[in-house]
Symmetry: C2
Subunit: 359 residues, 2 copies
Amino acid sequence: MNTRKKKSTRAATLADVGRAAGVSAMAVSAALNETKTSARISEKTRAKIAKAAEKLGYRPNVAARALAKRRMNTIGVSVVWEGDEPNVYFVEILSGIIEASARFGQTVTVFTFHDWKNDMEKVREVCDGRIDGMILVAPLLTKELAATLPRHTPFVALHANTETEGIVNIESDEEQGAHDITASLVSLGHRRIMHISGGRGLVGAERRINGYRRALAEAGIEFDPSLLVEANFTMYEGRNSMMEWIDAYGKDKLPDAIFCASDSIAMGCLEALASSGLRVPDDVSVCGFDDTIAARTTVPQLATVRQPLRLMAARALEVLMKRIESYHGKSQDTVASPIVFKTTLAMRGSVTRTKKISG
Amino acid sequence: MNTRKKKSTRAATLADVGRAAGVSAMAVSAALNETKTSARISEKTRAKIAKAAEKLGYRPNVAARALAKRRMNTIGVSVVWEGDEPNVYFVEILSGIIEASARFGQTVTVFTFHDWKNDMEKVREVCDGRIDGMILVAPLLTKELAATLPRHTPFVALHANTETEGIVNIESDEEQGAHDITASLVSLGHRRIMHISGGRGLVGAERRINGYRRALAEAGIEFDPSLLVEANFTMYEGRNSMMEWIDAYGKDKLPDAIFCASDSIAMGCLEALASSGLRVPDDVSVCGFDDTIAARTTVPQLATVRQPLRLMAARALEVLMKRIESYHGKSQDTVASPIVFKTTLAMRGSVTRTKKISG
DNA sequence: CTGAAAGCGCTTACAG
DNA sequence: CTGAAAGCGCTTACAG
């Protein structure tokens, strides 16, 4: 019962304001913007202009400004996201980006794709001037695909984990984090430690596997291939992998602890254990990776490797802004890549000392 | 080690393509767009133009197009979001909107605010032509504030739950959903049923309280004020309220079941119960409202009232597109408000029959 | 079937 | 200190 009929009146333009204030549109532009030329507008004129603008409710037309300045003041965020899972990882990233974008007066446009490989053409399409730069949320992006990105748009990638000419990459020392949490499990008395990894072949997944194996080796624990299973960084796969493992080996073969390559995998793993009647951490300790907010919503709360996702996302935005400036010739700043953040451990209730030791 | 030096060459324009094809820019525009005029371009010319455009990698400049057409082809999504909680509700909404936007060739820009009241000015600022219309994710928006929204932008609101002139509102039959899940708890043998409500005064919260009380009344169960506590639709508040209640009344006074006004509240409630050593559903049944993806990530999985959030979000986008068309005079379609979706029950493991009955 | 002109609302040199 | 002009790249009438 309520669709507005007609645009009552068109929005005020610079010319309108100029007319009202008795000056040219150009003077209004100079006065309202913080350009160097603006310094040369007299205080009196400036006040007149401000009053007229206020009265007319003047708002600059972004399209016109973008056309003249070749800047949209909007940055894109591309992510592969099926949407049938919460993807708390992305939520953290997005909020970090949006928060930072406000500081730069930028607007954030989100593009979601189903699959980097099949949708790369769409990514290119979107780089047609509607955004000034793009942040790729890229854990699943391969080097080959990254190489096909257009060259006329500045990119910054989060977790691409592999260097591509022209793209600044932001990541964390995942290998170390994986090592540290595995070592921590060992120090709690665990020996048979399972790792549910991300998709094999993905650099991030391999790094976590390496950290895991390094910690085992340092502790003199022989690597047991039956304790390394794969899940594609999703809750769904985490649950499945755990279920299949229990079916194959039986509950009596259960490891002391399970280190999952992501919080999502860990959540699936928790579910599988619960539905098999196994208790965490009494029967088995579980930990994840990322420290998304989800790690604090499971019962018990999930021990995990913390990556400062918000900070990393904010940094991505900052670096992108710098690159956009330099792209437009405003600066010559160069940004080193990759930028690596430190991981830390967040030990919580899902992990405990082994009974033999604690009891 | 990699910041690109200079824009190698400016992007091809319509004029460039025209020059290459030996026609005017206007002919290129007509040929490339699906305008009525385009029908009058000969097949031969059209082919020439297509080839030239392809060869030059022509991509229309969105800013120029937006300026000429007065359409940005982008829609805004505004949400109040502190970001210190996952807000799975918003994640569902956003993915529904993005999915639908692709079908309409629209781009989605996300604006987050801390507080409708203090940030309303920012909402207005953002309605300056950079978006063609706005979807308000508005559970916390009051009628008074909604009334101050600018009149020159088409709005559609999700869960505003209160009619405002000029705004189409999309909601669900929450009162009924709250009634149904409460009645369902009763039918499982529960008598002392607690309700942790959303913020008092919010229409959505009051509706759920009403449904809860109606079901109790129908079952001849007297309303017990000590079993109605408030939490502001957040996990944090859900945990706090539950904790405080246990402190105040003691575990022995625990109700049979707890109906939380949102999945987020329920998650906090689950956490509080777990940290108090109480088991769900053995000691107490718990259910939520929304059926966000989070309801399936808790252990046990959360029984809840399902609102089809994705569908509702998609509908919001569709309605908004219709309103934008009519706003631009392309159509005179009118959309009734509110649009009400049906809720359904999703019973899961967090709820069980009372022992007295089942045992 | 195709083109020349004007205009969308802003900014950026260039004059004065 | 301020203005007239040209241009950003597109679309929309209007001619022919």
